[in-house]
Symmetry: none
Subunit: 127 residues, 2 copies
DNA sequence: TATGCACGCTTGATAAATTTAGCAAAGCGG
DNA sequence: CCGCTTTGCTAAATTTATCAAGCGTGCATA
């Protein structure tokens, strides 16, 4: 119940904000459609501004943030996506990013795995 | 033509990456479903890992980033969403041998590796 | 051998996003 | 007035994400 209501209010608020930005820039719906290289249709933008879209995709928000020159993160927040975006305590730590959670293996097991990996890689060699 | 292709490849790469993370953590599909408090179903996760989902919602990506303890922004990027400004190039920092990119492997190579991993794991017993 | 169960996977349905096509009102020059 | 264009909008169609339920297989244990 509250979820729908909240989402609706958010959508309306976002829409109003977006509309104010567009009008502030003296642009027409089709102008914006054009400015985003068709990545956002004028029809969709209309629905968006009128609060009929509860969860616009980040791609759309990004395109609009470019056109209106407003921070992407701000739109993301207003749209209800996780706010305190990316950069924060993600750093430090070791590079766990593109890596396997290999830390649970013993030294021997690890080297075994790595050896196996290189073997597997040698069979193909697709960088 | 290329758009679809690219999206497909991205989806597959993301899926492989996600799968490697899950297996690396020795978790089952249902484990993850549980870990996210049902916010991601095991069925959906399966499709996601097999590259059948082209554009998973940020919500899902966020939930998974929590479970696997990997930066949200990274997943967003891999999923094909506009790169969050930062663009931290910590990339080649991992000279660590124990860290490697599993997403460069072919399907067969990957499954071989994973099989080997589970074998290694079985010998050890999960902490 | 049978039985149960956990696992990964596929299928079918549903809801929401996004596009396409087109309408009605308003403006404007002839 | 009259045609032409622009603008905002919307109904219908298409696409996509997501879920719930069920299937098949391997693996254990009785």
């Amino acid at each position: 119940m509250s979820e729908e209501e909240v989402a609706k209010e958010r959508a309306e608020a976002l829409g109003a904000y977006l509309k104010s930005q567009r009008l502030g820039a003296s642009l027409t719906l089709r102008d914006v459609e054009e400015a985003t290289e068709k990545s956002v249709s004028n029809a969709y933008l209309s629905q968006l501004e009128n609060g009929k879209i509860h969860k616009p995709s980040p791609n759309v928000l990004h395109a609009l943030s470019m056109v209106y020159q407003i921070p992407y993160a701000k739109l993301m927040e207003r749209a209800g996506y996780v706010s305190p975006a990316a950069t924060r305590k993600d750093s430090e730590k070791h590079g766990q990013a593109a890596t396997f959670a290999i830390e649970n293996l013993s030294k021997e097991e690890e080297s075994e795995l790595l050896k196996f990996l290189s073997y597997v890689r040698s069979k193909k060699g697709k960088p």
